[in-house]
């Protein structure tokens, strides 16, 4: 079973896509959940500020989402472009 060079490269790119997106999803998931938890705690203490706190939570989560999106971009590049 000979492996062609081009096939090897393609296989590595596809395996890379899986690994990049899989591992890349861990951090944002945990981080965003923690942010949501702390926002619940803060809103529970001070319900009047619910709007402000929800906005802050979403902004913070959007930033921590970024590495997940980088992973997605890299995975899609590996699948469709490289």
């Amino acid at each position: 079973m000979g492996i062609e060079g081009a096939d090897l490269i393609r296989a590595a790119a596809l395996m890379g896509a899986g690994i990049a997106m899989g591992l890349g999803a861990i951090g944002p998931g945990v981080g965003e959940g923690y942010a949501a938890g702390k926002a619940c705690e803060a809103i529970g203490r001070n319900p009047q500020q619910a709007g402000l706190l929800t906005r802050t939570m979403l902004v913070g989560q959007a930033v921590s989402e970024s590495t997940g999106i980088y992973s997605l971009v890299v995975a899609l590049l590996l699948i469709f472009v490289v």
């Binding site: 296989a11 896509a17 899989g22 949501a36 926002a39 619940c40 809103i43 529970g44 706190l53 699948i79």
Partner: protein
């Protein structure tokens, strides 16, 4: 100097035994060490109680030890296995069996340490509740052992079923995948079940009058935390009992291995995440027993959302198991199913843990002020939805790999 097939099988059994005992020793030791540390702390607070605290610590540690003993039993059996007449595929059954039991004991051992640790703390602050505390500790720690028992069941089946007549390809991957699936999935559920067991034990020492409500909440919370391990066991059974002989060996083997990894890895996150939520719920019921209704409801909503990534993992496993792939030995064709399984598996860990933490804080606040329930549930769900996004990206990438590439 040729190596006989039987010799390979025997070698695989020894490696399997080593994996089983090596991994299996991690959890129990950590859990027992944590329990011992907390017992020392508790004794330092009130040295007159050293007798009952030490006794309780030893009982708790004995339960945590059982996960390690399961691993020892499987490893011992595998050392003295009779490989006569076995073919190479039996060796992979031994490797799978060792991985299942070894990995499966990690979470249960660690998780059982939590109730033992909190019982020491509870005894130091309220020695009169000793009986009730020990009972709750034992119930909680016993539930923690369930995932290790799931793993042991699969390990026994793999060890004692005769696979020698099966084709090596792709059966070897199914057997390894079965071990990985149940073993990895048991890690999250074992740790997760330990958390409510711990907080409910401490809670009963603070509010002995509400013991039955606290215990009920703990049982519900830890039962839900077991779900990911059950998904792992279901996939393991499918890998062991579905007949894949009519499928092309290449690249089906990669799909079977990917199926085991997808559910096994993705179950780790929801198991631990559900544990965080249940921890706060039991603590909340202990603080405010009247609010046990809203607390339990919010806990269940939060836990359900946190389960979603293991369901994605299970979905990808089912696709990998039951959608036949075209025969091909090309490296690209067998990389794809393996990559899809790894992608969804790892991708399920983070959102599961994060969403569980989000729900834990929401439950904590609802316990203090049940009137905020609607507002807090909404914020929790919005936050969890955002935390879910990377799990969905992983699902998308897995599906793209399987159906588009």
């Amino acid at each position: 100097m040729a190596i006989l097939e039987v010799q390979w099988v025997e070698a695989a059994a020894y490696v399997g035994a080593a994996l089983c005992m090596g991994f299996g020793a991690i959890g129990a030791a950590l859990g027992e060490g944590y329990a011992a540390g907390r017992a020392a702390q508790a004794i330092a607070k009130d040295s007159e109680l050293s007798g009952p605290i030490l006794k309780n610590m030893l009982i708790g540690q004995a339960v945590a030890e059982s996960a390690g003993i399961f691993a020892l039993v499987i490893a011992m059996l595998m050392l003295f296995v009779n490989a006569e007449g076995a073919t190479l595929v039996q060796g992979f059954a031994y490797l799978g069996s060792g991985l299942a039991m070894g990995l499966g004991a990690v979470g249960s051992g660690l998780g059982s340490g939590f109730p033992a640790a909190e019982a020491s703390e509870g005894l130091a602050s309220n020695p009169s509740t000793a009986g009730s505390l020990t009972t709750n500790m034992l119930i909680g720690a016993a539930i923690c052992q369930t995932p290790a028992i799931f793993a042991m069941v699969v390990a026994f089946m793999l060890m004692f079923t005769d696979y020698s007549s099966m084709a090596l390809w792709p059966t070897w991957a199914a057997l390894l995948g079965a071990g990985l699936s149940v073993g990895l999935a048991a890690i999250g559920s074992g740790v997760g079940s330990g958390m409510p067991a711990g907080s409910s034990t401490l809670g009963i020492s603070r509010q002995p009058a509400a013991a039955s409500q606290i215990r009920t909440n703990m049982l519900i919370g830890s039962a839900v935390s077991q779900t990911p391990a059950i998904f792992g066991m279901v996939v393991a059974f499918m890998l062991m009992f579905v007949d894949f002989s009519d499928r092309a060996a290449w690249p089906t083997w990669a799909a079977l291995l990917g199926a085991g990894l997808s559910t096994g890895l993705s179950a780790i996150g929801p198991g631990i995440g559900n544990g965080f939520t249940a921890w706060e719920a039991s603590a909340g019921v202990a603080r405010v027993p009247e609010a046990s209704g809203p607390i339990t409801t919010t806990m269940l909503i939060g836990q359900t959302v946190a389960q979603s990534t293991v369901i994605y993992g299970f979905l990808v496993s089912l696709i990998l198991l039951f959608i036949p792939l075209e025969a091909s030995t090309n490296i690209v064709d067998w990389t794809i199913p393996l990559s899809a399984g790894i992608c969804m598996g790892f991708g399920g860990i983070g959102p599961g843990i994060g969403e569980g933490i989000a729900a834990a804080y929401a439950v904590n606040r609802i316990a203090r002020d049940a009137e905020q329930r609607v507002l807090l549930t909404r914020v929790m769900l919005v936050g969890q939805a955002v935390a879910e996004s990377t799990g969905i990206y992983s699902l998308i990438v897995s599906l793209l790999l399987l159906f588009v590439v």
